[in-house]
């Protein structure tokens, strides 16, 4: 257990398999908690339903990125070709839009990919090098074979004793109080 001076962040329990974690998440949602999270070494499918998570808004971000990339790419080429540096090359018209397709396409992909990657990190608030869960030594197994569930005390109906009892009932073990030492 960590330093009692630091404020409590939440109560964390370990589970032995993805299945038991999914069942526990269902009961935690059913008990009315919303400020909780589960931690797994790989994406567990079905847990997003059990945790009642909203679908990711990322596709919309990527759509915006792609539209931006394509229009910026096409716009740049058009401006350069008819205004910025208007040169007749091999007798082609200045606005030879057919020739602009490859670069427009590549920039659409490039900016969509930027939106997908940096959008995902932004939504997840990463990089975040400190988080209270990292204060727990046992949490190191989360990237190997550990499955954890933590109910945060920011939850409106958080009650230390009730949370302990709920996690224990769901088959959680190594139940610890996680303190924010940051």
């Amino acid at each position: 257990m960590s330093d009692n001076q630091s404020p409590l962040y939440g109560v964390m329990a370990a589970f032995d398999s993805p299945d038991s974690l999914i069942f526990a998440s269902k009961s935690v949602v059913k008990a009315g908690y919303c400020k909780f999270d589960t931690y797994t070494p790989f994406p567990v499918h079905g847990i997003e339903k059990a945790m009642n998570l909203k679908p990711s808004p990322l596709p919309w971000l990527v759509l915006c990125g792609g539209l931006f990339g394509a229009s910026a790419g096409f716009g740049l080429q058009t401006w350069v070709s008819i205004k910025g540096y208007a040169l007749v090359i091999s007798g082609k018209p200045l606005f030879s839009y057919q020739a602009f397709v490859p670069v427009t396409f590549e920039l659409m992909i490039l900016f969509s990919a930027f939106a997908a990657v940096f959008g995902m990190f932004a939504i997840n608030k990463l990089p975040q090098f400190y988080h209270p869960v990292f204060t727990q030594k046992c949490f190191e197994s989360v990237t190997t074979d550990g499955f954890f569930l933590m109910i945060e005390c920011a939850d409106p109906q958080f009650d230390l004793a009730a949370v302990h009892q709920l996690l224990e009932k769901q088959g959680g073990f190594n139940i610890v109080d996680v303190r924010d030492e940051g």
Partner: protein, 464 residues
Amino acid sequence: MSKYSEHPAVARTVLVKGDTSYEAITEIVHRPAITKPPKWWHIGLSAGITGIALLFSMIGYLLFEGVGVWGLNNPVGWGYAIVNFVFWVGIGHAGTLISAILFLFRQNWRTSINRFAEAMTIFAVICALIFPGIHIGRVWAAHWLFPIPNQMAMWPNFRSPLLWDVFAVSTYFTVSLLFWFVGLVPDLATFRDRAKTKISKFVYGIFSLGWRGSSRHWLHYEKAYLLLAALATPLVLSVHSIVSFDFAVSQVPGWHTTIFPPYFVAGAIFSGFAMVVTLMVVARKLFGLESMITDRHLEIMNMIILATGTMVGYAYAMEFFVAWYSGNVVEQYAFVNRAFGPYWWAYWIMVSCNVISPQLFWFKKIRTTPWLMFVVTIFVNIGMWFERFVITVTSLSRDFLPSSWGYYSPTWVDVMTFVGSFGLFFTLLLLFMKFLPMIAISEIKAVLPHDHADHETNKGGSNE
């Protein structure tokens, strides 16, 4: 687990053999990072660094003396540099193909090899990018390739396929790097949590961005990965198409053909898969990864090599047919000259390596025996280099006017620069094998046949 192994589809493709516990998988993949590298690794690394030194001294010599140190002449203004560029970019197609296209097709066997193939892609594209960079002659003006505002108010010509190539290859490199990095983040977190020293904990900690495996993060993470795969799929097909435009949009007989984009893409997949198999056969042996990169994985790869090799053979034949059918005398001469002209030897090396050797993979024994497939894929690698040599050099050396025909031979500087680029490639690859997870740990755990709750929505895990 038993109910899964009885299922016929699963019995056909056991993706991981031996101990399949989460702990065991992490341990196997993490082992090279914490154990002292074996002797051959040091030998390989010193050879690789020697190669880099060779590469950079050749580049230095080129910059000091000028492109006259290369074998280029009139009419052959494109020689080794372009051949090597297309060769390396072609190899660099396997990684993203395996990662993106096979991901969209739910080919779960890819999880064992995608990380390695992606790394190989990035290193091959780095090698590729060097060649057009030094080929432009005045290297100090290389930034003119990009549309950067400048005091001369000068802009690139967006109607040129060479400019399209700049965008295609640099986009490909950037997106491949992002894709690779996104895939690495959870595995870097694994390395962070198991790090033995303070420095490695710090470095892996920085690059894993504080990943903590939160399910709320995995939700967006998987969506991002899926979107990247969907974006990279048309990208990988576009890149070698655009590389082929460098040739196809020109009017040189032998280059000016519409078959080039699909033919180049098939060739790129062919050469890339061959390089992956060549490297995998060695790497899995040396690092004891046979339980995760099984003979079955290599066999599937070899089947794809067989399929794409046959497509390439078809393209060679079709080029001849179209040249004959076009009724164009110059075009017809260009192809007769390819097979029977002064570069006949290069043409027949290409045909034997690319068309004949992959046909050996019809035999199960050859496509499942590591040393035999190693030999075949080495031939494919050689053949694909010669393909680019044949396309580039034979067409240019005898173009329109017989009075301006010539013969191209590389100089020692050409050859040593190419040899040096292998040094760069293998150095990066050896560093990757030592310090980074060679197999996608979190992905392979998700395809293990146990502990799944929700089988219908199991996007990465169902064995079909």
